[in-house]
Amino acid sequence: MSTLPAPPEPDHTVAPPPALRPLALFLAFSQMALSGFGGVMPFAYRFLVEKRQWLRPEQFAEMVALGQVLPGPTICNVSIMVGWRFAGVRGALASLSGMLTGPIMVVLLLGVGYQKFGASPHVHDALTGMSAVAAGLILSTALKMAVRLWRVAPVRWVKGSLCGFALLSFAGVGLMHWPLIEVVALLAPFAVGVAFFKPK
């Protein structure tokens, strides 16, 4: 755990976001999407938070949270929110187009390839190995976000309840297979209450 990336910014107050042109956003999201084997979220975190530092980890976590609660694919909602934050409606559309255009072409190409070579056991086994790693990447992204939330929490009871809410939502959806909407509806009032009353 000692080699965890140190938090990059000590005194990031509410600095205005850097202005980004829609083209830059389109290219950035294309890059994230096309590197995003097995799911884009770990790559989006790495790019937006660790490499470019356009967002702080907790801002990323908040956008993911909202993106999950809103209807639609989470990563697309996150693209729209990031694009919106840096360049308004045009930025949102540019980010979303970047997220979708390249991957759609790749997926269709792979579909053609599957019709030709799909019967090969090598292809099947390689896909199995890749999806196991993809699952590990998603888990590690969740862990990194959890570590960061723990660090920025001001006092011990807030740290404890953050862990509690994360573990409960994990257990409800991942272990008990309860409907996600119900788990969120149950936890959200308490989680929001803690966030509202926590000391600054």
């Binding site: 699952a135 862990l143 939502s169």
Partner: protein
């Protein structure tokens, strides 16, 4: 031709209605219902095609929900691919954009911050649950779980680009080790 158009329309309408229920990033969660509609009820594609679409979108770069594009393509060609993709993305994402525009006028305040801050740990749990379900869904048993755990350790301790890990996973898989 006429009946082809109808299939495209029916698929698009069904997916558009479903899309607004994809809460929790759940276009992946919608898979059972989409399967029921295109495979079990209408026999537009086979079970194997559906499973392949799902695995391909999972392994390919980009959002995992793009299995819907492949399903649309196999159901009704290019028109089907375009209609399915638009139907699953446009309604919910228009909603998000409208919400962002509305929130500009009454921005956040203390409650807005509390809602975003409070949902953050819940979403961390949900993300972990998504990874966990993916580990469990794989037909590779304990070796797949071990590979996933190894990935967590490497990803936490290094800044190695995840692409190399995915490539390594594909390599290990192709050697029949998983």
């Amino acid at each position: 031709m006429d009946s082809d158009d109808c299939i495209v329309c029916a698929l698009a309408l069904h997916l558009a209605l479903l899309s607004m229920m994809a809460i929790g990033g759940g276009v992946v969660m919608l898979a059972p219902d989409i399967y029921r509609y295109v495979v079990a009820s209408n026999h537009w594609i086979t079970r194997e095609q559906f499973a392949a679409a799902y695995t391909i979108a999972q392994a390919a770069p980009g959002p995992n929900m793009l299995y819907v594009t492949l399903v649309g393509w196999w159901v009704a060609g290019w028109a089907g691919a375009a209609a399915a993709t638009l139907a699953i993305t446009v309604p919910p994402l228009t909603f998000t954009l409208m919400l962002l525009r509305a929130s500009r006028r009454h921005h956040g305040g203390r409650w807005g911050d509390a809602i975003a801050g409070g949902l953050a740990p819940v979403s961390v749990g949900l993300l972990a649950a998504g990874g966990w379900v993916l580990v469990r869904a794989s037909d590779s048993g304990w070796r797949g779980a071990l590979l996933a755990a190894l990935t967590v350790v490497i990803a936490m301790r290094t800044r190695l680009n995840p692409i190399w890990l995915i490539a390594g996973g594909g390599f290990i898989g192709a050697l029949h080790l998983v």
